[in-house]
């Protein structure tokens, strides 16, 4: 019943190959890639529309598995339960998560353990990590965020986030609040780090594209496209387009992600 209802909710439920519509649902992290590449793809291919919505990775995985969407985008790996859905994985980019602080904050290096202690509320003053006597202002993402999920998995391990952290549902907000407030700390995708904030090194490794591709930067993840079963021609063509240099070297880079093709490139 629920599945039927869900299937009715979106247009992409008929499964025919003639469709000129690709429904892409999922992680907000991937929106910069999917929205822009979708627009460009539609521009090049008359009559095709790529319908993109960002509802979180979980929703993306759920909707591609119920057939509501052609492509589910996710900024996290599949959970155990989701492996049974029989989804096909196409990695499209790297995303590294930077821990950011106010530019004037003298602290510029933290260990994974320190970051964990800060975000779980054990360390509450910068003094405790070698900074000034300044209370730490925690900025967290909402639980729908794939970034939070990744950060939680990579950094937090079993520790719980401090419940008193400010929860903001958008990367830009996190960045602008931290740019504004001296004692604040938060995390955003490396691609969104600007000069307004400072990304600290983690475990001695600078948060940079090189360290990500090299695999040394600890807080990183892979962004995925998930599909299920037979994919319509348009959708398959669109995925191919996303993996092409046209997208990887322009859109993905402009969005601050690291192209999935960068690794092979650096190997050559």
């Amino acid at each position: 019943m629920a599945a039927l209802v869900l299937a009715l909710t979106l247009t992409g439920c008929s499964g025919g190959v003639e469709r000129r519509e690709v429904v892409v649902t999922g992680s907000t992290t991937l929106l910069p890639i999917t929205e822009v590449s979708g627009e460009m793809y539609a521009e090049h291919n008359e009559g095709v529309s790529i319908l993109v919505s960002g509802m979180g990775s979980s929703a993306g995985i759920e909707s591609v598995s119920t057939g509501s969407s052609d492509i589910g985008t996710s900024s996290r790996e599949l959970k155990d339960a989701e492996f049974e859905l029989g989804l096909e994985d196409t990695p499209v980019a790297y995303d590294a998560i930077a821990v950011i602080v106010h530019p004037d904050n003298p602290v510029s290096e933290l260990s994974t353990m320190e970051v964990r202690a800060i975000f779980s509320g054990v360390i509450t003053n910068w003094q405790e990590v070698g900074g000034p006597d300044l209370p730490i202002g925690l900025v967290n993402r909402d639980e729908a965020s794939g970034t939070r999920e990744a950060f939680s998995k990579i950094i937090m391990d079993d520790a719980q986030f401090d419940r008193g952290a400010v929860v903001l549902p958008g990367t830009g907000q996190v960045r602008s609040v931290i740019a504004d407030i001296k004692g604040a700390v938060g995390y955003i995708s490396l691609g969104f780090v600007t000069d307004d904030v400072k990304a600290v090194s983690i475990d001695g490794v600078e948060a940079s594209e090189e360290s990500v591709v090299a695999g040394t930067y600890p807080v990183q993840r892979v962004l995925h496209f998930f599909t299920k079963g037979e994919v319509s021609d348009v959708a398959a063509d669109y995925i191919e387009y996303v993996l092409s240099p046209d997208v990887q070297d322009t859109i993905v880079r402009e969005a601050g992600f690291i192209p999935i093709t960068a690794k092979d490139g650096s190997g050559e």
């Binding site: 202002g137 909402d142 639980e143 729908a144 008193g164 400010v166 929860v167 549902p169 609040v177 407030i181």
Partner: protein, 306 residues
């Protein structure tokens, strides 16, 4: 002595027409169509209740009524859906809004009804009305970019939290309370005012000792409805409250309300989590219905007394 006279008249008019069946049916049908439309309003409320209920009642099974209503932790990753921190947040934010907003609104209403010159009134009243029309996202946006940094300075925190949310909500409930209070003051018979002035009372004494007591129930109604608005307000709160489902820790500390938690969670909730969100909606629905019932009971009391 007169007697009823023969009806020799018939030439000029052909007697009374029976109501034609067509007319009768048309009028009756129309009446029933109107009734149907009116009943739709009832049906709408019923439908809302039934559907939120249908989606949310299972909170009594999982996480269980006690864990839902009595739980002190709201965390979807841990599968804990206790609403006490959210209720606590809603109360904190609403109280703050009432403390700031109600005096301002009632003062504005008194100003409009008793003091302002027609010219002043023609400026203030439209302002109040337009304030009511400003979309809540715009208020939220304004709070985010203007009020939050100020509060951050004041409290030394990040500016997301109870105080910022209260300030924004206070502004948002001003029109509701002010308009209804002005109505209440307007329905105080003018004779009472004149009598008070005639006895040598100052304007303020007349307002304080005569008008406000006379309009008391109306003002309470207004405040209750303003409170309802504050409890139900969503977008503006999400944008400035900080959305941390924790118990009140100070004016500058982030907090989450019932409504803000729904918005934050709705985009990704599944299973029990989603059920719990609909459970929150049921609670909001019951609160607003309870407040309406309270206001109606109060006004009935008022008419009885009068």
């Amino acid at each position: 002595m007169s007697e009823p006279l023969k009806t020799e008249k018939a030439a000029s008019s052909s007697g009374l027409k029976m109501m034609s069946r067509a007319t009768y049916f048309r009028e009756a049908a129309l009446k029933n169509i109107f009734l149907l439309c009116a009943v739709l309003a009832v049906a709408a409320v019923g439908l809302i209740f039934v559907f939120t209920m249908a989606r949310g009642w299972e909170v009594v099974k999982d996480p269980g009524l006690a864990a839902f209503l009595g739980g002190t932790e709201w965390s979807s990753s841990l599968g804990r859906f206790g609403i006490l921190p959210l209720i606590n947040g809603t109360i904190a934010v609403t109280l703050g809004a009432l403390l700031l907003g109600a005096p301002l609104a009632i003062g504005t209403a008194v100003f409009l009804s008793e003091i302002a010159s027609p010219r002043m009134r023609s400026i203030v009243r439209p302002a109040v009305e337009m304030l009511a029309g400003v979309p809540s996202v715009v208020f939220g946006f304004f709070g985010l970019v203007m009020i939050r940094p100020v509060v951050a300075e004041l409290t030394g925190g990040m500016g997301f939290g109870t105080l910022t949310a209260s300030v924004i909500l206070a502004v948002m409930i001003v029109p509701t309370i002010a308009t209804l209070t002005e109505d209440a003051l307007g329905s105080v018979p003018p004779g009472i005012r004149e009598a008070s002035y005639a006895m040598g009372a100052t304007t303020w004494q007349t307002i304080y000792k005569v008008l406000l007591p006379a309009a008391k129930i109306g003002i309470i109604d207004a405040t209750i409805l303003g409170m309802g608005r504050a409890i139900g307000e969503t977008m503006a709160v999400v944008m400035v409250a900080g959305n941390a489902p924790q118990f009140f820790k100070g004016l500058g500390a982030p907090i989450a309300t019932i409504t803000s938690q729904i918005v934050i969670d709705m985009s990704y909730a599944t299973g029990t989590h989603k059920t719990a969100l609909f459970g929150l909606a049921i609670i909001l629905f019951l609160i607003s219905m309870g407040l309406v019932a309270l206001v109606r009971a109060l006004s009935r009391l008022n008419t009885k007394k009068a």
